[in-house]
Symmetry: C2
Subunit: 217 residues, 2 copies
């Protein structure tokens, strides 16, 4: 149906589109795709001809309805494979992204529906992100960044914004994991750093950490 490159672009536009109302800029997409702006322009033209995106020169790009559906299916596959890798093959959450990045492009409806069944229809991936169903529907959790909490507030860790291996390893090292309860013992006005309480210990974290952790109060 679509080439590997086309699929990766669609997914990238989808992820960038979430962050704002405006169209996705060429440079933002180039950054995300680790390529040059001129290459992005080429690809956008192609996707536009295929009616997968809506594009006006210099005005940024938007996913069309078809484009959005396609992107959601790729996201679905990516996240289902991540669950498989962690639940069945014993990967840790910082090892799955790269492999899922390849597996998400395997073309087989049956493979994905059977995998979904085999995994018992999981609702979230190992990073707390929602898994769209076969129709592209998924529930948006009401969550907030840990950095938004004030002293005394507490909640449950339900996701991470940054899924880089480096960040996830930092969390592992400090026993910060999905489902854990976190309470803000203190928040420093000057730099936004926090003292947080985990089950067994307290810990001081920088705003770079607290602004990449999603909490459900």
């Amino acid at each position: 149906m679509f080439s590997l490159s086309e699929e990766n672009y669609l997914k990238a536009i989808f992820h960038l589109q979430k962050n704002s109302e405006a169209g996705v800029s060429t440079n933002a997409l180039a950054e995300e795709m680790q390529t040059k702006a001129s290459s992005v322009t080429d690809m956008i033209k192609k996707l536009s001809e295929k009616k997968l995106v809506i594009y006006e020169k210099y005005r940024g790009v938007y996913l069309s309805e078809t484009g959005r559906k396609t992107a959601l299916q790729i996201v679905r596959k990516h996240r289902l494979w991540e669950v498989f890798l962690v639940e069945k093959l014993g990967f840790s959450w910082d090892e799955v992204h790269e492999v899922a990045e390849e597996l998400e492009h395997i073309k087989s409806e049956k493979l994905i529906s059977e995998l979904d069944k085999f995994l018992n229809y999981p609702k979230r991936d190992p990073h707390g992100d929602p898994i769209p169903d076969a129709k592209g529907h998924f529930q948006v959790a009401n969550k907030t960044l840990l950095s938004n909490l004030s002293k005394g507030e507490k909640g449950t860790l339900v996701g991470v914004k940054d899924s880089s291996s480096e960040f996830l390893k930092y969390l592992d090292k400090n026993a910060i994991a999905l489902g854990k309860t976190i309470e803000v013992l203190d928040k420093e006005d000057f730099d936004g750093s926090m003292l947080i309480q985990l089950k067994e210990k307290s810990l001081r974290i920088s705003p770079m950490v607290s602004s990449n952790i999603y909490i459900k109060i």
Copy 2:
């Protein structure tokens, strides 16, 4: 490491090489790869520069030691994924080939070693073909084609030569499956057709069928 196309060529050469001592001809490879002879020549040159094959113009092509090892790893991945699809996801043996054809190219050592473990280190794929281990070792079964048996001989079905969906569906329809005992009740000299005895019934089969079934006596 290697491109998708390079990997598919290596695997094709590997499979064709099994059938004879001689080098693999350009046309045979073109047929197998569903492409043109001129494209094959181009690719062979490339593989030859990369020392994956031994190639002399007009003389056919052979896998080098490195090429053979690479091909064996791809075959290993292909067959492990086939086992996964049948054992874990409920695919039938005639549905797995195409999907495995894509899955075999996913690049991750850990993925394959963990998958192997998850599947409990299977020795054969759903078509009875041996699965090479991480070092490329595998056991060659002593098997013979059903068409080589004479009247009165019997054995166990241990593999199929043709794994096309059409042939496998024919076998399913007639309850011919891996592990079944088959006895040759009669063999027609004129056209080689056979009357065979399965557990619950007897059946007449053409040489096109009997010459694609492997038997262990």
